[in-house]
Symmetry: C2
Subunit: 219 residues, 2 copies
DNA sequence: CGCCGCTATATCGGATCGATATACTGACCA
DNA sequence: TGGTCAGTATATCGATCCGATATAGCGGCG
């Protein structure tokens, strides 16, 4: 699931690990709580699978072939004396910039449209990345989640009515059910918006969804 | 976190693994999605820590006279566990009945009041088990969560306003924020109910919270 | 001058999950 | 009579994820 978030961010531009973590937290909305203990293994996985490539950048160094066996302290002294050029903040140290490959794009599309993991976090993540999906795939994603939520809501309602629960457990269950109902209403609104959008755009036949964004972008 | 759920259920009666799983799912409200791959290691952990003891029951016990296994308390635990009104289903095979110990009760109280893990699932679980908490500990739990949620809500609001998000990611964020607000309102209601309860019961000084349940029980 | 805080990569152990294996039983059906 | 399915029950496997921690450079603050 983390792989999907990473690939979704790298679809836009190449990034290094620390930046990926920040963007996942602030763009994909705290739904995925990335820690380095999961991020770096995930990046290693994706690299081993050929989905991303890495480019190691030496800190503010010219692209000249710096020998790895050379005098390290000398190198550092040079770097320290050279001062920072353009970047406004942050101690620039060696970074690994990750770039998505064609195989990565294929894997991303597969993970985004695939059926794996229908929990709340995965679903929110998929919706956040829905602009990369075809309109009918968007509707399919939303309706699949709607069905699951409806089922779960029935189960929770049955458990709330049937079991002998004290007031605290009952309150938790009722609150859970209310949250599910709110989720369902939200998904229904999304489905409606999607359907009206499809009915409008039936004339177009572009296979690229990057030009089909709806309103809400910042100019 | 699963340890807390298990101990909370065993506080009431001894249970075997399969039954624990079912009760966690239907009593603690699908908040904790227990799988056997996490349940049995957790039970083994608790047994190794001395928090629970196990009593193995011989398989296919003949109906009328239960074969003598020697341990009387174990037999009672089995009887309690299978005290179901009309269980016409189910192949009785060898079970391991888990019973909580004094050390387990101590650990349970520690986990329930402790500060570890303030995510939504842990919090819901703690509230579900709040009848085992002292009133002031209940208020402390609720207010701690309220503070965390308020903080997170501010972060989400800031991220929603600041970043350049497309309509899908924006919708997810706004829905997340609405869910947080609903959570906060729910917690505020719980805090109010708790405070009024405390102000009523200031005269009593019973150290046992099992008699201080509020309304909502099934008669 | 030391210390704090930020950027940045990486690893460790433990917890959890989904899938799966094993085994026994009762029910349904032909 | 046999076959298959579904339910009960315990257990393990690999993969994944998380929190804590280590390492390291750097700027600013007092």
């Amino acid at each position: 699931m983390l792989d999907l978030a990473i690939l979704g961010l790298l679809e836009d531009r190449g990034l290094h690990g620390y930046e990926i973590r920040r963007r996942v937290r602030e763009q994909l909305g705290l739904l995925v709580n990335v820690s380095f203990g999961s991020l770096y293994p995930a990046l290693g996985r994706l690299e081993a699978a050929g989905a991303v490539t890495t480019e190691e950048t030496t800190p503010t160094a010219p692209p000249a072939p710096t020998p790895p066996t050379g005098s390290l302290s000398g190198e550092l002294a040079v770097l320290r004396a050279r001062r920072r050029p353009a970047p406004p903040r942050g101690g620039r140290r060696g970074r690994k910039v990750y770039t998505i490959t064609d195989e990565g794009r294929r894997l991303f599309a597969e993970l985004l449209a695939g059926e794996g993991a229908d929990d709340a976090r995965s679903f929110g993540l998929r919706v956040s990345l829905a602009r990369h999906l075809a309109p009918q795939a968007r509707v399919a994603l939303l309706e699949r989640r709607r069905g699951v939520l409806g089922q779960r809501l029935g189960e929770v309602r049955a458990a709330t009515g049937g079991a002998s629960l004290d007031s605290y457990a009952r309150s938790v269950m009722e609150h859970t059910a209310e949250g599910m109902e709110q989720d369902i209403r939200w998904i229904d609104r999304l489905i409606d918006a999607e359907r009206s959008q499809i009915s409008v755009g039936t004339g177009a036949k572009s296979p690229d969804w990057s030009g089909t964004r709806r309103g809400g972008e910042r100019p």
